[in-house]
């Protein structure tokens, strides 16, 4: 390949920060859906507490990942030029907004903090997350953003 990979700006020793952080929100929001389902099935308050913390952690790390991603996105026209870049960025902003609203729903007390609005929001968040993650992975694995050049 002769075309150089678009580099990541927010990187430590060539390792993109964004790629390092994104697993956290992906895992947290996915597990939050599972713990919501567990609460729905068992009424055990423990699962609701798990969901609340998972959403909280996902938001914190997701916010940091978004910052790093935004730096790469805004500082490199080569990144913005990639076809999946815009839908990936906008989709993930929506994911974070959904997760934030979901946190407020989960901050309620008792059954209705999860069933049904919290559960639905968790599911929609994860579905949208699958799309944005797919787009994000294609930016790395197909377009090589942030991948080191060994030419």
């Amino acid at each position: 390949m002769d075309i150089p990979h678009p580099p990541s700006t927010a990187a430590i020793a060539g390792h993109p920060i964004h790629a390092t952080l994104v697993p956290f929100p992906i895992v947290c929001f996915t597990l939050a859906l599972l713990t919501d389902i567990a609460f729905w099935q068992t009424s055990n308050i423990m699962w609701q507490n798990f969901s609340a913390w998972l959403l909280f952690a996902g938001l914190v790390f997701g916010g940091l990942a978004a910052l790093a991603g935004a730096v790469d996105f805004l500082s490199r026209s080569a990144v913005r030029a990639q076809k999946p870049a815009w839908p990936h960025a906008i989709g993930n902003v929506i994911v974070l907004v959904l997760a934030f609203v979901n946190s407020l729903v989960h901050a309620g007390d008792g059954w209705t903090a999860v069933v049904h609005y919290g559960l639905i929001l968790s599911a929609v968040t994860v579905l949208l997350l699958f799309v944005t993650v797919w787009l994000g992975r294609s930016m790395v694995f197909r377009h090589g953003i942030g991948v080191s050049n060994h030419a």
Partner: protein, 546 residues
């Protein structure tokens, strides 16, 4: 601290209101006429849970020299005692000495969710003491007005180092103190200024490790034999699980001789202000109802406490209004729930109750109840933060609540917040102000006083003394049985660890199948919330339930 905005909406997240509108709406209920929720038959709007619950708490600024709350014509208000450390309740002994119970919460509530951290920070503003070291609290101070002129002549710390005390009662040379985890009995003769003797633990009460509603109020029955103690719930609406609610959201009846206890009434989320109505001898209480159903739900209330009655918490409120947040639902418990007698409007946080009968207050206050309303947090417009008066006739409320002591709030700041109320040794009203660190005295403006002191416990036994064993004495904790299996399942968790119960009763929990016709009542701490002992029928004589 000084530049902090006087009131905080829950956060800088207000902008998200637009997003939230789609889900829940941001109706703040400002156009609701709150007087429709004062009286025996309150208007209850549909629940309106908000994504961002309204949180408006007044920043505490205290009282400057010369500042006082406001009272209507015919009354005069003066500071009775200042420089206290979070005074919560006042109690007048038969000789006219006033005990001021000062306490802080045990602060043992674990952080279960991210919400707890944020809320704790906002609440700390409401309770003041944000900066600098605080005076040690958790003590009982004795105030003596030797010449009965309405000013305190002698002051002495009677007891210190207590564990979040709230209610007290005195009879038979014994001072009973309801700390947050036990009723303690101290030997105490009237007139003494200090107690050094170690207490006897009369009855353990549900304390930590959560202890969400920690104030345990105390009242002595008119015959002097029985103590009644209020035990608030361990959560807003069982978000800590049903297992955390054993023995809670209830008023216990405790035999003064043996310490044997049983649940007298249940389903009361956070009852306080236990007081016997002097005309009828019926026990009354005020209770704080649940939060986060909107600014105008659920009204706090004052009610007579009927033996064996269930008042709804957590499954319903005001009779059959089901709280959808509690799952699984319990239609059988909702069917049992009875509505309280008199609503005080939502989120006023009624914590104190006393009856005026026999006091030296002017005629408009001759027969009724004074109620201390600590004030709201879960609404955008302050409610409460005052002492109101509800006139009574024939031992029942007869008329609208009217403001008596106001002016605790100034704009978005609070000088103080009223909690416990009581009648002092001269027949004037005392109001404990827990963040203003003051006890206020509200007297007839013409200075009239009662011919002799009347103790808070208007019990013949409180002055005479009566040692005969009451009928309930035989019902001890021995032979305890575990609560029904069904309750364990309702909590959705594994079988509860019996460690606490075992320690208290010295009993292994019996097999659930041990229930039989002769099944004795379980001790209150083995009773899941709002569950009455099997065989408890309203009005059935206690002796027959052995």
């Amino acid at each position: 601290m000084h530049s902090r905005p006087a009131s905080l909406r829950a956060s800088a997240l207000a902008g998200s209101c637009l997003v939230l509108l789609a889900l829940a709406g941001c109706d703040d209920g400002a156009d609701f006429d709150i007087t429709k929720q004062i009286g025996p038959d309150p208007v209850l709007p549909e629940p309106n849970p908000q994504l961002l619950p309204d949180m408006k708490v007044a920043e505490v600024i205290g009282w400057q020299a010369g500042q006082t709350p406001t009272v209507p014509q015919g009354l005069a208000i003066t500071p009775y005692a200042k420089d206290l450390a979070n005074p919560r309740t006042v109690h007048t002994l038969p000789n006219g000495d006033v005990l001021v119970v000062q306490s802080r919460g045990p602060s043992v509530e674990p952080v279960s969710r991210p919400k707890d951290v944020i809320r704790g920070w906002i609440m700390s503003i409401a309770h003041g003491g944000g900066g600098g070291p605080q005076k040690p609290s958790n003590l009982i101070t004795l105030l003596r007005d030797t010449n009965r002129d309405g000013t305190v002549d002698e002051r002495s710390d009677l007891l210190t180092g207590l564990d979040s005390p709230f209610g007290v009662a005195w009879v038979d040379d014994t001072l009973y103190v309801a700390a947050t985890d036990a009723i303690l009995a101290f030997p105490y003769k009237l007139g003494e200024m200090k107690i050094t003797a170690a207490p006897k633990v009369l009855t353990p009460l549900p304390g930590g490790p959560i202890d969400h509603h920690w104030t345990k109020d105390l009242a002595l029955s008119p015959d002097g034999r029985t103590l009644y103690v209020s035990v608030g719930s361990n959560s807003n609406i069982v978000e800590n699980g049903l297992e955390a609610e054993k023995g809670r959201a209830a008023i216990w009846q405790v035999d003064r001789e043996t310490g044997a206890a049983r649940v007298y009434a249940s389903g009361l989320r956070n009852p306080n202000g236990l007081t016997f109505q002097p005309e009828t001898g019926v026990l009354w209480a005020v209770a704080n109802e649940r939060d986060e159903l909107g600014p105008n739900l659920v009204p706090d209330y004052m009610t007579s406490v009927q033996e064996g009655a269930f008042y709804g918490w957590p499954w319903s409120y005001y009779g059959n209004h089901v709280d959808q947040r509690v799952h699984p639902q319990r239609p059988d418990m909702v069917a049992k729930a009875i509505p309280p007698d008199y609503a005080l409007s939502s989120h006023v946080a009624a914590l104190g109750l006393t009856f005026s009968m026999g006091s030296a207050l002017p005629a408009p206050y001759a027969n009724g109840a004074f109620i201390g309303e600590h004030g709201s947090w879960n609404r955008n417009f302050f409610n409460g933060y005052k002492v109101v008066y509800v006139p009574f006739e024939k031992g029942r409320p007869a008329g609208k609540a009217q403001d008596v002591v106001t002016g605790f709030i100034a704009g978005d700041q609070a000088h103080g917040r009223p909690v416990g109320v009581g009648i002092d040794g001269t027949g004037a009203l005392l109001v404990a102000d827990d963040v203003g660190n003051t006890v206020w005295r509200v007297a007839a403006a013409d200075g009239s006083v009662t011919p002799r002191p009347i103790g808070t416990d208007r019990s013949a036994a409180a002055s005479a003394g009566n040692g005969s064993a009451p009928a309930t004495a035989a019902r001890t904790n021995a032979g305890a049985v575990a609560p029904s299996v069904r309750q364990g399942e309702a909590a959705g968790g594994p079988a509860p660890s019996a460690s606490i119960d075992e320690r208290l009763t010295g009993q292994e929990p019996a097999a659930p199948s041990s229930r039989s016709a002769a099944s004795p009542e379980p001790p209150p701490m083995q009773v899941a919330p709002a569950v009455l002992p099997e065989g408890t029928a309203q009005g059935a004589p206690a002796q027959q339930r052995q």
